[in-house]
Subunit: 158 residues, 2 copies
Amino acid sequence: MSGRTKEDFLREAIRVASDNVARGGGPFGAIVVRDGVVVARAANRVTANNDPTAHAEVEVIREACRTLGTFQLEGCEIYSSSEPCPMCLGAIYWARPKAVYYANGREVALKAGFDDDHIYEEFLLAPQERRYPATRLEIEGADEPFRRWAAKDDRVEY
Amino acid sequence: MSGRTKEDFLREAIRVASDNVARGGGPFGAIVVRDGVVVARAANRVTANNDPTAHAEVEVIREACRTLGTFQLEGCEIYSSSEPCPMCLGAIYWARPKAVYYANGREVALKAGFDDDHIYEEFLLAPQERRYPATRLEIEGADEPFRRWAAKDDRVEY
């Protein structure tokens, strides 16, 4: 264990965010810590990499999993310069870290022009009523992938 | 415009999902279509790539953006073999496609052991009450990345 506090780690995530602005990225950074050691650092690369999913949290989860050779971050902590957006919240659920810490609430990001609130609201709407409407179509045999999956002996559940 | 229908595209997404199971991936597939042409195909690679964010929709959005050289999918349609999970829903909001179509509802995925419902429920909880609790810590100067961002003349808003 290092002697670094949660606040120290958050300050590092904020520094990653600040540095990223100079590198042409968005003002968001995150780090993953396990047993007091930083295992991954990442920043928002949405416009820099032409990747709308490249939020700092998604990037740092991918990087930490690569480093640790796992698809789940059990026992890890995620430190993010800002409150995770709904996409990142979803990514966090699938990654299963021990805990998440952040410094700027969504109202701080909103003042800078990053509006996550409308996404939270849309989650409460039925799929077809959303801004980007999702429609279910009936397709015969649509569950074929699941039947193949169920038939596999060596499938990894997650 | 090709003569392919929405159902044809969904059948292709389902085929991508089915083929992926044989390749060691999860039973999910998605494609992105623009003006009747498939611009990207992708499948779930979570366990195969050690990447909890590698759901079919996230992967196909990344691939389509790479192909099109953009960070938003305006005018595109996303066809997914199954209803997008909350993480993918968030990714879809940031990608801004014209519309989303899917074949299997979440109850079909649930029967196969993929439970998204608990994530939807957690979205309604306060950050600290969630399964992977998110805690805001007070850090002096936490908004420094946003101040740097605001001072940039060449920032790309998104």
